[in-house]
Subunit: 188 residues, 5 copies
């Protein structure tokens, strides 16, 4: 049975791990979830690596909420660099889900954003482990996690200077990409 | 018997290692503390790694006080990057405890901050080694080491747009998080 | 038979992988293409490494479209650093093809730029795997992928203070470098 | 017999290696010094690692004088990052001794600074290899290499809100830290 | 027989590899040169590592011409970081020779600068592989590659507060350092 790791922090102001676990269970069955919590985002890389190497996780979600100060941005940069290293050392995906405090105007929007982003990335983590080909179908469709998708660039349709195959797919993807989730999101 | 490593610097203006050792002893028993001191924070990564690989430490605290200049911030960044690498190379947690000189208004506050942060992270180090599940209970509760905890975001309670389980826990955690320590801290 | 890997993202707003696959097929035969899609550019390094180590790819194209914000530039930096690490860990080339959203004035130009850059780098990937000596012939000729080539510096011709051999080659390369592709590009 | 490595650069404007060798010999006996010179600071990491792995050095001093431009600061950052990596790969300390050209007002002060910093770090290198416990005694005493020591923070003495043990030691260390060397240094 | 690797880019606007090969041949005999060209500077690290590990090179020159934009400076930083990593992974020197486009006022000066810097670093590469002790003689003499050497700081001569040995050597080095090459360079 496959295993999906979930690691969050005590620093975050939302229980991101609980949201991730909830959403993963909605995505499908046939896997076991292993959850861990560390103090801050710089503690995530090693914990994710331990889940992969010591617990046998097939993919891990690394969840964190960096603050809005310069020092917080540097911490996030260091954590991200470490998460990429951990992936390279294990040949295993770690889906980084960071929500920066200054991405939202107030606590209410922040909470909404955290919930959306964690859930949409939980889907990504699930697909990476169970159905990677499903991601190819979304290639180049301007997916965003949390805020509404950007969608694919469509100007080209008039110009016709890139090949038809890519066009058609972009077209199709755009339609499906703008479905359920986005409607319930903020519109601006 | 488990071992906890403590490494600080001669550069720091407070004997951070002594505070860490004192607090660790208050956290519990059943472990041995191994202490080292290096010149500056950039010497921390290798010393921490040596404590793990040569002395068998199960977790290490890396203590430092970067100055307020740009060059000091760069040093702290380099040290942090190295500490994360050291963790990935050893699959062992190193709890970074840095207090930046410019975080406090004067020496008095700085001293207070160092003492608080070292002690709160000593608890984190202890939990990572002996009781990791205790950290899951604090997930997303906005813990801060030194200054008062931010606490979890609570706007959602009215909105009800994230699941109840997370809510309840955030609620509970917030209450317990605002206990003893925070009261004795600064209030603003 | 050689294998060329192609990895793009769901974040990009153009199906870069499809363009790469299309162009690679025009470059030659005798190889198999393996395509993958990941959520964002920070997921590229490990996927590229997996294609090399688990699928046996001889070269990989890593395709992405970083946004124009500061945070996006940091992501691109982290991804690039990881891609270089992945190459060093595998002794295999990964051709990074990033198109920054703010490189183009509007969607139309952006689409044009993506198409050009992906195709020109597909040629580079092909040459690295099949005909590395062909690249030596282009050494120092100011090649650019997407926008028109800069071409080699030619002031020296009048001065004669660098050796003749390099001169002749620069001369030759400049002529061939300014051929087909550039004419159809933008001229300023 | 232990070995101490010394690596400096042809870029520096002071023969830092000679100063280091001179000071190391004053620190004690029972070790052999191996000296190398590389072009610039970015060549230091690999040379230090070679001294450790190929020559068996127990500790290495990496000496350099980065210029004052932005590009020089970036070089110093890259070199520092590499030096930390080299230490992690070898479990061996490399004492980085960089003097930035813009740290001093004129050549005369720069020369003074280089001499002091190299000598004080030579002592650190010696202690790391031969007497690491001596460094614990200096923990948190605000040591600086070159300019006068900052000394430990002492406000706490009046407040009494950190434990007595640390206090006493800080007190003692401050006294001994402000000894011989500092008197002959600049006072502002 | 020793081997020296030379890697340059198609991005550069001068055939740097040809200059390097030409100069290396002037430095001496008894070695074989292996040349490669890659698209851009971020492709240099892995190619240099391949030359070391797959072709057995004893030292490699990595040649590139980063542009003057912010994004180019970031690329140069990433490439440099990778080159240092490649050296640490192989215990072999890679001499980075980067000429930033904005270092020169116009194409004519840029061409002059590239030629000088490549040739002076070719000498460094040769010395690292064949005569490392020759570099010790130049320690701390303010060598620059391309623009005139800074030379050693000499104020100390009057002060007499650093040891005589270093002084004499600085003196000697300064004289020989300001020889042939510098005269033909720019004087300001």
């Amino acid at each position: 049975m496959k295993k999906i790791g979930v690691v969050d922090t005590t620093f975050a102001r939302v229980d991101m791990g609980a949201i991730a676990v909830d959403e993963l269970k909605k995505q499908g069955t046939g896997f076991r979830i292993i959850r861990r919590t560390v103090p801050g985002i710089k503690d995530l890389p090693v914990e994710c690596k331990k889940l992969i190497e010591e617990e046998g996780c097939d993919v891990v979600m690394a969840l964190g909420m960096p603050g809005g100060e310069d020092i917080d941005k540097m911490c996030a940069h260091e954590a991200s660099t470490g998460l990429i290293q951990a992936q390279l050392m294990t040949n295993t995906h770690i889906v980084e889900v960071f929500v920066h405090e200054d991405e939202a105007g107030d606590d209410r929007e922040l909470l909404w954003l955290v919930d959306r982003r964690v859930r949409e990335h939980a889907e990504n983590a699930y697909l990476l482990a169970f159905d990677p080909d499903a991601l190819i179908k979304k290639a180049g469709t301007g997916q965003r996690q949390g805020f509404p998708d950007e969608g694919p660039i469509t100007t080209s349709r008039k110009k016709g200077d890139i090949k038809a195959g890519a066009e058609e797919k972009g077209e199709k993807a755009k339609k499906s990409g703008k479905s359920s989730r986005q409607k319930s999101g903020k519109s601006s």
